[in-house]
Structure formats: C-alpha cells, structure tokens
C-alpha cells in the first residue's frame, strides 16, 4: 500500500513559494485503483511526483509498503522505486533502441548487477506480462513499429514486470482515442485487481470513471475523497 500522510509540497516562484500540495492525506490500498482528478494546475502531478518519491515533501510522510520514503536519501529512494513502485507515464516513454520484450527486461538491469534472484524473477515474468497486455506476438518490435495504444500497453507491462506493490499512472489515455483509452483503463483496472497493486491514477478525464474504484479530487493542492465504488 501507499500512504501520503499530511504531505505538503512547495516550490519557489521568484522570491515567494507556491504551495502545490497542501497537507494532503491519501491512501492507496492493495487491489484498488484510486483516481486522482482535478483541474489543470490543481496539484495532481505534484501529488504523483511525491508518491513516486521523485520529490521530497516539505512536511509529512510518504510511506511505501511500510517504508517512510521521505526519510530516505536519493539513492535509497531510487532503489525503493526500482523495487516497489511501477510508473506509467503520460506518454509511453519507451526507449527507441529496445524491443517490447527488452523494454520489460531492462527493469532487471536498472540497479546494475543487483541480486541474481531478482533479475531471474523479472526476466521470468516478461513473456507472461506481454501476453497479459495482448502483445505476445509483438515482443520483438521496437516502439516505432507499434501503435500508440500498443506502446502504452508495453509501458503498463514494464511498470508491472518487477511486481511492484504500488502502481502510479499519469494520464494514461491523454494521447489515445476514446476506444483505445477505454481499453487501456480496463487493462489497468484488471491488472490492479489481479495483482493486488495499490494503484494511483491521475486523470482529468472522467469519461473512463468506470475503471476507477474510488476517486479523489484535488483542488488548489487540497484533496478530498469524493466517490467510492464497491465492487
């Protein structure tokens, strides 16, 4: 699970500081897709950056799978991301030189030599995950040879191949048409439920709200749980 506990994030703006996230408490639970919505500039992406441990909060805690990430140095936060967090970016952000299979296998190599067991486990999951996202037949294709929807599927598989406890998803449908967007949202929902990851999904587009288990709205850096849907 992931817990953002009373977190505040500010950033400099000239001589002043702007508050991007204002004392937000948010919990992502295993097997639940939590949608984070709100207008542009409301602090959704800052919240995701905090959850991804890419920035440290000015105050409050970010707890990932029982580990207080806000107390860790940069190297340890990187290791925490590598082992327990999966990220799906707004754009697929695939490496152009790598095939779909290699995009997933690279997750076993990010820490250099790392532990042999972990690398073996990641490699062992690659083909199964590509099948799970419907791309088993496209494993040897590079990003330029895939459609936008296929690239986003590869990105989702990449975010899950190391079996993270937390999945962070940033506007996954922004570059897709409505039908493909619905497919991607359904895929994220299915994989979250199957694998028991705690998923935080930022979106400004509620057209795919059926894929969300609960929704948190962020306005001016403050968050409020607005809907919870029982399955």
């Amino acid at each position: 699970m992931i817990l953002l506990d009373d977190v505040t994030l500010t950033y400099p703006d000239g001589d002043a500081r702007v508050t991007a996230v204002d004392r937000v408490t948010l919990e992502g639970r295993p097997g639940v897709v939590t949608g984070i919505t709100g207008p542009s500039g409301s602090g959704k992406s800052s919240l995701l950056a905090l959850a991804a441990t890419l920035v440290r909060p000015d105050s409050g805690r970010v707890v990932i799978d029982g580990v207080d990430a806000s107390a860790l140095d940069a190297a340890k936060r990187t290791a925490l991301r590598r082992e327990r967090i999966g990220i799906v970016f707004q754009q697929p952000q695939l490496l152009p030189a790598l095939t779909a299979r290699e995009q997933l296998r690279v997750m076993a190599e990010l820490g250099g030599r790392g532990s042999r067991e972990r690398r073996t486990a990641v490699r062992g999951r690659v083909d199964g995950l590509l099948d799970a996202v419907g791309l088993g037949a496209f494993a040897d294709r590079r990003p330029a040879q895939l459609s936008g929807g296929q690239r986003q599927r590869v990105a989702i598989a990449r975010a899950l191949v190391h079996d993270p406890r937390v999945l962070l998803v940033d506007e996954p449908t922004s570059a897709l048409d409505r039908a493909r967007g619905a497919e991607i949202m359904a895929l994220i929902s299915r994989l979250t439920h199957e694998r028991g990851t705690a998923t935080l999904l930022v979106t400004h587009d509620l057209v795919h709200r059926d894929a969300l288990d609960e929704t948190v709205e962020v306005v001016d850096g403050r968050a409020a749980l607005v809907t919870t849907r029982r399955r």
């Binding site: 082992e83 970016f89 754009q91 030189a97 290699e102 690279v106």
Partner: protein
C-alpha cells in the same frame, strides 16, 4: 551495459562513423609513433649502444654541451679515469664524413674507440668495422677496402644496426680516428667519454668542467634529435588531444540526445552508477574496436612501409599509443557523464515525446 549494447546495435551507423574516426586517428598516431621510433633509432642508436652509465661531454664556452662541439683533452680523460668510484672510461671520438668504394659512396658516422668493450671496434689501425647500414649502402663485405678521407681501410667485421644522426656507423681504433679527424679539420680529441661506475658524478663533472648524463638524457645534446623528435612528439600529442576532443564531443552530443531516456530510466529506478557504467562501457567498446582496427592497419602499413622508411613496429609504438588513445578517449567521454548525473527524473513525468 544492457541498454548500451542495444544502443550500439540500434545506432550502428553513428557508432561505426565515430569508430572509423577513432581508427583513422589511431592509424595516424600509430604511424607517427612508428616513424618517430624509426627516426630516433637512426639518430641515436649508436649513442645508446655506448658502454656507459654516464656519457661525459665538454661544453664549449657558456653554451650547453653538444655532441657536435664537445672536445675532451687528455687531462680531462685522466681526471675521470682516476676519480674514485670510476670502473672504466672509454674515450670515443665521433665525426661525420663520407666513405667510398668503387661504385658506391655514402655518408657515415665515424666512431673512434679502442676494442674491448661491447661496442664493435677493430683492433688494427688500418681496419674498420662497418655497421649493417654502412655495409648495405657501400655494398661492402668483410675483407673489402673502403676509402675514407683519402685513406684506405680493410673491413674487419660487419656488426649491428648502429646509426648516428641518420648516418650508419663506421668504427675505427681511437688512434686511427684521431688521425682521420685531424685530416678532416678537427682537433683529434675525443668527443665523449663513456664512463661506468659510481663516482660522485656531479663533483667530478664540476671539477673537470664537463657534463655527465645518462645515455638517454644525453640525447638532448644531439640537436637534430631534439628538433626532429620534438616536432613528431608534438604532432602525436596534438593527435591525442584531437582524439580526446572528438570522442568527448561525440559522446556529449549522443548523451544529450538521450537525456530524456536517461531521465525515464532514473524515474524507473536506474541507479546513477549503473547509468555511468553503461555510458563508459559503451565508450570503451567503441574505443576498443576503433583503436584495435587502427593498430591493425598500422601494423599492416608498417610492415609494408618498413622496407622503405625508418619504421619501428614494437609494443612501444603500437600498444602504448593505443592505451593512451583509449585512456584519453574515456576521459573525453567522461565529460558527457555530467548529463547522466545531472539528469532529473522528475522531467520524465509530464514530458511529451
């Protein structure tokens, strides 16, 4: 190296291009090194072959001592011979002139010294020992007569490949050399003392008004060697600099083009160490292949040109420049690491590519 190997495969055209540039620079460096070695050997091999711990020269006036101007009188020779700690002093006369035999003539360096040392020298005043180069130029064999400055000498032996100032060496006895030098307008005094032992070198040198340097250090007293090797060494140094700059510029541009990928990898959890290892490993592969091809071409061309040019193919003229090329290339590539270390993973969020 996971991403690095795949980048090499994916952008093989670009990497082949930079590899070819590295290979060409290595070829230039290797060829210049071989040529420098060959020219150096033709310039100083006889000096380095003299049997000495130190070579003693006598400077003229306030000028620095040189092989061309040095002249050592008998008192100085005796002072060195009787100095405590000196085991052996060999007086050597050096001058240059022409040697002739019917149908052949060549410039030679005359070395006058008495037999009994490791340096080849005849035992009789009417005999000479030819170096292999002199024998080849004159087409002479043992027993042939060679004319030098109007006197005839019989070839007693043909020895090693000794050269001095780009002329092959002809050795005479000290007495024969002194007579020849006087006929050529010289003083007949020896030019250099080859001294072995462990005396108080600086004290004896100061007392006798001479300089005593190791054979290697004394090469700077050979003006042609200094200017020739200095020019070639400068060219080699500049090529090393160009190589480091070219490799550094390539990898800097390449890494900057990949900065978005690097940010994504960092956001996904790549350690900076793994990314640095990846980048340097990639540079090492390109350098190793480029330098390897360059050295192979150098060896091939050196073997072909070796018969016509003074060219030395040895580990010093191939492997040493190769190691320097790789080292400097990696140093250049290390400049690009700033992009890797300073890349902010936060930029991966919200960036559109």
């Amino acid at each position: 190296m996971y991403v690095a190997w795949r980048d090499l495969r994916f952008a093989r055209g670009r990497f082949a291009l930079i590899g070819a540039v590295v290979a060409l620079i290595t070829l230039l460096v290797g060829f210049l090194s071989g040529l420098t070695g060959g020219l150096a050997a033709q310039n100083v091999s006889a000096v380095l072959a003299l049997p000495a711990d130190r070579l003693v020269l006598h400077p003229v006036g306030d000028a620095a001592a040189t092989f061309a101007d040095s002249a050592i009188d008998q008192a100085t020779v005796d002072a060195w011979r009787t100095a405590p700690g000196v085991d052996r002093v060999t007086a050597v006369g050096i001058t240059q002139t022409r040697a002739e035999r019917p149908g052949a003539s060549t410039a030679v360096a005359l070395f006058g010294l008495d037999a009994g040392t490791s340096f080849p020298a005849p035992r009789r005043d009417d005999e000479i020992d030819l170096s292999a180069g002199a024998a080849k130029d004159l087409g002479a064999a043992v027993g042939d007569d060679i004319a030098i400055a109007g006197s005839s000498y019989r070839v007693a032996a043909i020895g090693g490949d000794d050269w001095y100032s780009h002329t092959p060496v002809v050795a005479l006895t000290a007495t024969a050399w002194a007579a020849l030098d006087e006929r050529l307008g010289g003083t007949g005094q020896p030019t250099v003392l080859a001294v072995s032992g462990s005396p108080a070198w600086d004290t004896v040198a100061a007392d006798t008004g001479t300089t005593a340097s190791s054979p290697l250090s004394s090469l700077t007293a050979l003006s042609t060697f200094r200017s020739e090797i200095g020019s070639l060494a400068l060219m080699i140094a500049m090529l090393f600099g160009v190589s480091a700059l070219v490799v550094g510029a390539f990898f800097t541009v390449w890494t900057m083009q990949r900065s978005a990928d690097i940010a994504v990898l960092k956001a996904l959890g790549a350690s900076t160490l793994a990314l640095v290892r990846d980048a340097l490993g990639q540079a090492l592969v390109v350098l190793a292949v480029g330098v390897g091809v360059g050295i192979a071409l150098t060896a091939l061309l050196g073997a072909i040109a070796g018969g016509a040019l003074p060219f030395v193919l040895s580990p010093l003229t191939t492997l040493a420049p190769a190691a320097v090329m790789i080292g400097l290339g990696l140093l250049g590539a290390a400049v690009s690491l700033r992009t890797v270390t300073s890349s902010d993973p936060l930029t991966a969020l919200g960036s559109t590519r």
